[in-house]
C-alpha cells in the first residue's frame, strides 16, 4: 500500500509521489484515449499499480474505477502486486520453444526457487514468461529489465543472474 494521500513523513507537505502522479495526470489532461499511457507511467513510478493510487487516478480523471480495473486486468503488462527490482522475462515463443526455452524456464525456476509469475521474497527478482521479444535469432532468449540475453543454456544462467542486484 502506497498511501498516496498520506502527508510526507519528513516535512508534512504533499507526498512526493503524489506530486509526480499529479504531474502525469496534468500532462494528459484533456487528451483523448490517455488512460493506458497514464497507467503505464504511473506503473513505472511505483513498479506496480497500488490500489489507492488507482482510486486516486479514478477520482482525478473521472474514469470509473471498475473501468480502470477492467483495463488493468486485460493487459499483461499491468501489475496489481509489488514486483521485484529485476524483472526476468523468459521467452516461451515458438522459436525459443523449439530451441529449448522450456528448459531455461525450468532452470530459472529451480535457481530462484519460485514459479513463473512470482517474485522472490527479498524482492530481488520477478520471474515472468513472455511470448516472443523479437530476438528469435538468438533463441532461447530472456530479457532482464531492458537487457536481452540470448543463446542461453542452463549453465549460463547463474552468472547472468548474479549481475542483477
Amino acid at each position: 500500500m502506497s498511501l498516496i494521500n498520506q502527508k510526507c513523513s519528513c516535512c508534512g507537505g504533499e507526498n512526493p509521489e503524489k506530486v509526480q502522479v499529479d504531474a502525469i495526470l496534468a500532462k494528459y489532461e484533456g487528451k483523448k484515449g490517455s488512460l493506458i499511457p497514464i497507467l503505464q507511467e504511473v506503473q513505472s513510478l511505483y513498479n506496480y499499480l497500488p490500489k489507492d493510487v488507482l482510486e486516486y487516478v479514478a477520482s482525478k480523471t473521472g474514469v470509473p474505477i471498475s473501468e480502470i480495473y477492467g483495463v488493468v486486468t486485460f493487459y499483461s503488462l499491468f501489475h496489481l502486486n509489488p514486483r521485484g527490482r529485476n524483472i526476468i522475462r523468459v521467452c516461451q515463443g515458438t522459436a525459443c520453444h523449439v530451441r529449448g526455452g522450456k528448459l531455461i524456464l525450468q532452470a530459472l525456476e529451480k535457481e530462484l526457487g519460485i514459479k513463473a509469475g512470482h517474485t522472490t521474497e527479498d524482492l530481488r527478482y520477478t520471474l515472468e514468461t513472455v511470448a516472443c521479444i523479437g530476438a528469435c535469432g538468438l533463441a532461447p532468449v530472456m530479457q532482464i529489465n531492458d537487457d536481452t540475453h540470448g543463446r542461453l543454456t542452463p549453465d549460463k544462467l547463474p552468472a547472468i543472474l548474479k549481475r542483477y542486484q
Binding site: K32, P37, F74, Y75, A95, A131, G134, C136, G137, A139
Partner: protein, 596 residues
C-alpha cells in the same frame, strides 16, 4: 573537405546489441583515433542486417568485408590489420554452414545471394537515427512526388495497380482498402500503422522500425494524402523499446524538416503522427481491438461491418495497415507499379520478408520474391538444418498458420498456395523443425498460446480452445482416448465457423494442419502411448544401450535409485521406478542412454 576512404558499419539492432555491439562501436571509436584514422574512416551504427545469429556484425566498405561474431578484443586487430595495413582479418570471416568455406564478401554469402532486398534495402546500410542518410538514398522522394505531382486518386490507383497486398496476415489488396477509406466522406480520418507484431517467432516489423523507420513514416504520410487523413497513429508493442525510441527520433526529425506537420512540400497537405505503446495483449493486433486499445479501452475485437474504412478510430473512417505494407509504398510511388509487378507471382506481387528461426543454420530475416519455393528459403538461404539433422516440418503463419511437411517443400510461397496447403502467410514467421520435434507438442504449444490470449468475449474461442487444449494435453500425457482425433476435428470446425475474430477463427489451424500431415504421430501417442520424437516427458522412456561401460555414474545421479547394475557391467533402468527426469542421460559420459 576530407576524403573518407572507408566505412565501418557496426550493427546496432537488438540482436547485435544484446551480443555486445555497443562496446565494439566504442572500441572502433577509440582505435580509429589511436591509429589516426578518424578522418578517413567513417564509423556508422546501423539497424539489423537480418543475420543476428552471427552477431555482432561489422561490415567494412568499400570492400564489403563481412565480419561476424566480433568481440571487443577483436576490434584493435580489425583497425590495425584491415584499416591500417589493408589486410583482411580472415579468422573473423563468415563460413558457409554446409561447405565450411570462408566468404569474405557480404554479397557473396549464401544467406544474402538469393534474397531480393527491397523493403530491407536500407536496413543495415544507413544510420536509422539520421534522416539525412535516408534522404541521401532517395528517402521522401515518393512523398514529394505524390503530394506535388499526383492527385490522391492517382496515388490510390498506382497502389491498386501494383497489386500490393497486406503483409499483416490477411493479404487484403492494399489499394482497394485505401479506396474504401478515400470514398468515406468525413471531416476527419485516420491512418494507423499496426506494429503490434504479436506472432511469436516473427520480428520483421521490429527490424524495419529499428533499421529504417522513415520508410514507414513516408508510407503512412502517402496513405494520409491518398485517403484524405491528416493524423496517424503507430501502435507499437511495448516489448520493442528500441523501435519506439527510433520512431520517436524519426518523427521529430521529419517534423523539423517539414516532412511531417503542416503544409508538407508547400502542397497544403498536413499530416501529424503519434506513437501508442501496446500493453501486452496479442489480440490487440486485430484491427478493431487495436483501435479500442488506442481509445484507452480493453482491447476486444468487435464484429465487422462496419469496417474501419467506414467507422474506425473514434468512429471516424480509418485505414489500418501493417508496418511492412507501409514500407512497400514509397518504392511503388517512385518506381511505378509496373516496376513493382516484375517481382512476385500473378496474384502475389512484390517481396515478402520472412523471419527464419528454429532448427536452421542461418536464423535471420530474409526478403525474397513471392513465389520462391520453401526449399530455396530453407536450404539455399537458411543453410539447412542444424547439426545435420533431418527436416521434419516448417511452421508458417504463427498461431493462425500451419505446419508443412517435407513433401510440401517445393510449394511456391504466395498467399493462395499457402492457404490451399492448410497454412497461411501470416506475418511471415517461419519456424523450422527437425526430427527431434514432436508435432503434437507443437500443436499444444500454439493452442496454449491462443487459449491464454483469447480475449474471452465470445464462447467458441474462449471455451472451445480450452477444450481442445485439454484434449491435446491428455494426449501428450499418455491419457489419449480412442476418438480424441475426431473430437479435435469437430471442435476445430465449430470454432472456425463461429468465433468472432480472426484469433478464434484461425486458432485451430495448427491442430488441423498437424493432423493432416502428421496424423500417425497423434496415433502413436494415443494408441501406443509413445512419443516418436521423445519430447513428451510423460511418455518418454529411458533405456541403457550396449554402449554402457558400467561406470555407474547414471546410478549415482538418479534421484530415485531406479538404476541398478554391477560396476563394469551394463546397467538397467527399472521403468516402474523411473520418474523420467533425464538426469542419467545427462550424466552418462558414453552416451549410452537413449530416450524414446
Amino acid at each position: 573537405m576530407q576524403h573518407i576512404r572507408a566505412h565501418v558499419l557496426v550493427c546496432g539492432g537488438t540482436g547485435c546489441k544484446s551480443a555486445g555491439s555497443k562496446e565494439i562501436q566504442l572500441g572502433f571509436a577509440k582505435y580509429l583515433e589511436e591509429y589516426g584514422l578518424q578522418n578517413e574512416v567513417m564509423l556508422v551504427e546501423t539497424g539489423c542486417h537480418g543475420f543476428c545469429e552471427h552477431g555482432p556484425l561489422v561490415i567494412v566498405y568499400p570492400e564489403g568485408t563481412f565480419y561476424c561474431h566480433v568481440k571487443p578484443e577483436d576490434v584493435k586487430e580489425i583497425v590495425e590489420s584491415h584499416l591500417y595495413k589493408g589486410r583482411i582479418v580472415e579468422r573473423l570471416l563468415y563460413r558457409e554452414p554446409l561447405s565450411h568455406e570462408q566468404v569474405p564478401n557480404y554479397s557473396e554469402i549464401g544467406f544474402y545471394k538469393k534474397q531480393q532486398r527491397l523493403v530491407l534495402a536500407n536496413c543495415g546500410a544507413i544510420n536509422p537515427e539520421m534522416i539525412e542518410e535516408y534522404i541521401a538514398v532517395g528517402g521522401y522522394e515518393a512523398l514529394a512526388k505524390a503530394v506535388t505531382t499526383m492527385t490522391p486518386e492517382e496515388v490510390v490507383d498506382e497502389v491498386k495497380k501494383s497489386g500490393l497486398r497486406g503483409r499483416g496476415g490477411g493479404g487484403f489488396p492494399t489499394g482497394m482498402k485505401w479506396q474504401f477509406a478515400k470514398n468515406s466522406v468525413s471531416d476527419k480520418k485516420y491512418v494507423i500503422c499496426n506494429a503490434d507484431e504479436g506472432d511469436p517467432g516473427a520480428f520483421m516489423d521490429r527490424s524495419v522500425l529499428e533499421g529504417d523507420p522513415h520508410r514507414v513514416l513516408e508510407g503512412m504520410a502517402i496513405c494520409g494524402y491518398a485517403i484524405g487523413a491528416d493524423e496517424g497513429y503507430i501502435y507499437v508493442r511495448a516489448e520493442y523499446p528500441l523501435a519506439i525510441k527510433r520512431l520517436r527520433t524519426a518523427i521529430e526529425q521529419a517534423e523539423k524538416m517539414g516532412l511531417l506537420g503542416e503544409n508538407i512540400f508547400g502542397s497544403g497537405f498536413n499530416f501529424t503522427l503519434h506513437i501508442k505503446e501496446g500493453a501486452g495483449a496479442f489480440v490487440c493486433g486485430e484491427e478493431t481491438a487495436l483501435m479500442a486499445s488506442i481509445e484507452g479501452k480493453r482491447g476486444m475485437p468487435r464484429p465487422r461491418p462496419p469496417f474501419p474504412a467506414v467507422s474506425g478510430l473514434w468512429g471516424k473512417p480509418t485505414n489500418i495497415n501493417n508496418v511492412e505494407t507501409f514500407a512497400n509504398v514509397a518504392q511503388i510511388i517512385v518506381n511505378g507499379a509496373d516496376w513493382y509487378c516484375q517481382y512476385g507471382t500473378e496474384r502475389s506481387k512484390g517481396t515478402k520478408v520472412f523471419a527464419l528461426t528454429g532448427k536452421i543454420n542461418n536464423t535471420g530475416l530474409a526478403e525474397v520474391p513471392m513465389g520462391i519455393t520453401m526449399r530455396e528459403i530453407i536450404y539455399d538461404i537458411g543453410g539447412g538444418i542444424t547439426n545435420g539433422k533431418k527436416f521434419k516440418a516448417v511452421q508458417i503463419g504463427g498461431p493462425s498458420g500451419g505446419c508443412l511437411p517435407e513433401s510440401m517443400l517445393d510449394l511456391p510461397v504466395d498467399y493462395d498456395s499457402l492457404i490451399a496447403a492448410g497454412a497461411m502467410m501470416g506475418s511471415g514467421g517461419l519456424v523450422v523443425m527437425d526430427e527431434d520435434t514432436c508435432m503434437v507438442d507443437v500443436a499444444k504449444f500454439f493452442l496454449n498460446f491462443t487459449q491464454s490470449e483469447s480475449c474471452g468475449k465470445c464462447t467458441p474461442c474462449r471455451e472451445g480452445t480450452k477444450r481442445m487444449l485439454e484434449i491435446l494435453t491428455r494426449i501428450t500425457e499418455g491419457q489419449g482416448r480412442e476418438g480424441d482425433i475426431e473430437l479435435l476435428e469437430n471442435l476445430a470446425k465449430n470454432i472456425k465457423e463461429t468465433a468472432l475474430c480472426g484469433l478464434g477463427q484461425t486458432a485451430p489451424n495448427p491442430v488441423l494442419s498437424t493432423l493432416k500431415y502428421f496424423r500417425d504421430e497423434y496415433e502413436a501417442h494415443i494408441k501406443e502411448k509413445r512419443c516418436p520424437a521423445g519430447v513428451c516427458e510423460k511418455l518418454a522412456s529411458y533405456t541403457i544401450t550396449d554402449a554402457c561401460r558400467g561406470c555407474g555414474l547414471c546410478a549415482r545421479n538418479c534421484p530415485v535409485q531406479a538404476i541398478s547394475g554391477k560396476i563394469k557391467e551394463k546397467h538397467v533402468i527399472n521403468q516402474d521406478i523411473c520418474i523420467k527426469c533425464g538426469a542419467c542421460m545427462a550424466a552418462c559420459p558414453f552416451k549410452a542412454i537413449t530416450k524414446g
